[in-house]
């Protein structure tokens, strides 16, 4: 049981790690999709069918399209970078952002008390899940919706602002 979890975790993390190391942005994007699919498989393993299918539908189906669109419509050849990637300011910014996300996650993990008693498996129907999402958890659902909308708009803005005027394009 834990071996399956380990395999899934290894697959997800490895896909994400290789995605960062790839020079080809399309390969990175597709590997990122594989990593999201790994997370969906984890939900399936945990018995949360509904969440797993929702993850597949939203991330593999829709977000991947936005990412690929943004990659294809912006210039992604290595010669097109205006700035040097290895400036000190960018390194500092990257460390700060990564550290903040890491801190939040570690704090959340440490803040959760480990339970020695194995939790009873809840038998939730989709109807109960829907009622819970629409009732007490409506705010978080809205927040997720806003995040996804911002991602979509970001893709559009990236694609729209990348149109430099190339002297060779002039008639």
């Amino acid at each position: 049981m834990t071996t399956v979890l380990l395999c899934l975790a290894l697959f997800t993390v490895a896909a994400a790690a290789v995605a960062m190391a790839m020079r080809n942005l399309i390969h990175s994007a597709l590997l990122l999709v594989a990593s999201w699919a790994g997370i969906a498989a984890f939900y399936l393993w945990a018995g949360a069918e509904f969440v797993a299918f929702a993850q597949l539908l939203v991330y593999v189906g829709a977000i991947s399209m936005v990412v690929l669109f943004a990659v294809l419509l912006t210039r992604h050849s290595r010669l097109d970078f205006d700035r040097e990637p290895e400036t000190r300011g960018r390194v500092r910014l990257a460390l700060f952002t990564g550290g903040a996300v890491c801190g939040v996650l570690v704090a959340a993990v440490l803040g959760t008390a480990p339970s020695s008693v194995p939790a009873a498996v809840p038998s939730l129907t989709v109807r109960q899940l829907g009622l819970a999402l629409m009732g007490p958890h409506a705010a978080s659902l809205l927040a997720v919706g806003v995040v996804l909308t911002v991602a979509l708009l970001g893709g559009v803005v990236l694609a729209a602002s990348a149109r430099h005027s190339d002297p060779e394009d002039a008639p």
């Binding site: 049981m1 399309i26 597709l30 018995g47 509904f50 597949l56 690929l68 989709v126």
Partner: protein, 431 residues
Amino acid sequence: MSLPGQLSVLFPLASGLGASSPLAAVLPASDSALERLPLTLRGLLTGWLPASWQWLANSLIAIVVLIVAFASLFALLTLAERKILGRVQNRPGPNRAPLPFLNLRTYGLAQPVADGVKMLTKEDIVPDGADRVLHFLAPIALLAFSILTLAVIPYGRLLVALDLDASVLFFFAAGAATELAVFMAGWASRNKYSLLAAMRALAQLISYELPLLLSVVPVVLMAGSLSTSVIVERQGEWWLGFLPRWYVFTPWGLAGFLVFFVASLAESNRSPFDLPEAESELIAGHLTEYSGFKYALFFMAEYFGMCALCGMAVTLFLGGWQAPLPFLSFIPSYLWFAGKLLALLGVFMWIRASFPRLRIDQLTRLAWKFLVPLALINLGTTAFWSLTADWAGLLQPLRWLIAAGLIAGPFLLLGRNLSKGLGPRTYRYAA
């Protein structure tokens, strides 16, 4: 621990697959022997196995039967499509291929066999500059996801391969990944035409996934469930004792069905929305650099996807396996499902023969300015329909009138707005 036990621990879903398989359900006594024929046949095949192995064997049989049935349907559909297109264009269509070893020309019935042999013996060409891994993976991923979608459709009263609580969601989750495979094929080919096709496929998916899903929401709202078998059960009642209560026979159901139908034409890359392939502009788009059996796999996936979307339309709106009239229910449910599915596939082919291909701007305009608003309005109408479920007597016609007006008004307004300024075309040089 026995193997099935282990598997069900590893994947809780796997145990659901066995437990919900039709044989485990208590069979109603009213079912005729014909209705139970598939289960009887399966019982003969797997009845001698120990109970713990039976669900595994049953699942395997379900998978094999699904793939074999739809692969042979695919073979027949290619022939039927070519024949129908030929007839529409006033030519005979394929009529030459003789039956093997018999030299008997049966109106081209052996054409799928000839096509299969041709595809298998062709050279498999991979372009020099292509991304070999993705080029190889694309047709496989496409076919795999298309087959997944076939699993949750109820083919008969007792025939559901995978009866999940959230099977509608499963269907669309698996279907959403197919356009990703089209993109992989187009990008990995390193061909300008293929890349254009990939971009078009992405635009088309983003545009048409929305109306497709929005047109399904009213059905889920009225049925109160995401399970396909429950949705079909809910459509099994009769109005006045003999009129079927399929969802398509309500104002919101009709509008939802039409939106779903148009969006599924676009989702399965069928004409008039076959912009990603577009033989005349993009020399077959993402298929340009594929040959031999990989090319055949793409076509197989297209037809599988088409069958799955038609099956879903039948399930959601056309009453699934329900008979259209009460006294006709002695005919087994799976035959009704097959009949409805074939009729809908026939309409797909008819549309392909009749309509010219859209331009990319027309395609996106139709989705965003017409189908999405209409689907949203349809959702509101369904909410009204569901709130007024207890209206009786004279209020009942009023309910129908209001619901029909709520749909027809915006439909007319949006349609007028969409075609404004495009009005009757004048030809300056042609007669």
